[in-house]
Point group: C2
Chain length 119, copies 2
Amino acid sequence: MPDKIIDKCEVHCINRDQVELAQKQMISDDEALELAEIFKALSDTTRIKILHALMLQELCVCDIAATISLSESAVSHQLRLLRSKKIVKFRRDGKVLYYSLDDNHIENLLKQGLEHVNE
Amino acid sequence: MPDKIIDKCEVHCINRDQVELAQKQMISDDEALELAEIFKALSDTTRIKILHALMLQELCVCDIAATISLSESAVSHQLRLLRSKKIVKFRRDGKVLYYSLDDNHIENLLKQGLEHVNE
DNA sequence: TAGACATATGAGCAAATGTTCATATGTCTA
DNA sequence: TAGACATATGAACATTTGCTCATATGTCTA
């Protein structure tokens, strides 16, 4: 496996030392995929709006929909995605489901992203 | 414009106070879009690998390609995208372009994401 | 228990995305 | 100045994504 990579490098690379160093510390496929998945969860305007609203308080599906002016179905689909990635959780109160942020790492990511945007 | 939102709320929302509060502090469309754009830049495995490699050292296009085992064309396309979002920059040395991270906010986001993944 | 209500879910569709292939651009060197 | 080389770019294509619409599920209340 390393042979294959080095072959490729020998065919065409400029600084072999740098390539070898880069490969040694390279992020694994799995890790890169997980990382990409987290950021993908935050890469949509609708989901940003939902998560931003949930930073302040828990909200039920229809109130999220009313807040961001989107159909309840669309919101529900997005919440499903966010649930599957353990980014939001919910509690039931009768027929109403209240959603909230599951993980404060996400809140930190959002805050840091906002800093980046607002400078 | 607020009328429209309130109308929608009156049609169907559960906790009007919460909706009003959420709307008051709501992130703007522009800000949400910018934020989503940043995270979108980090939401692909190839780009994660490129950026992770650049956290360690600057690299030219073909060495990035050799490192992550992808075509130079594909790498170049992704670098173009990352350049357009001011996430990477480059310096020229003869015919070789060396890319590096443009903004340490991005590095912080990546590190924080990695923490989240590795816990 | 029937019906209303809050939410979830599946199918379908248009738009966006990431790669490959072919070609263009710009820089060095003989 | 011609040719080699490093990279950029455009078109094309398959895949993914986010919405809508219709329908299903689960919970409460009369």
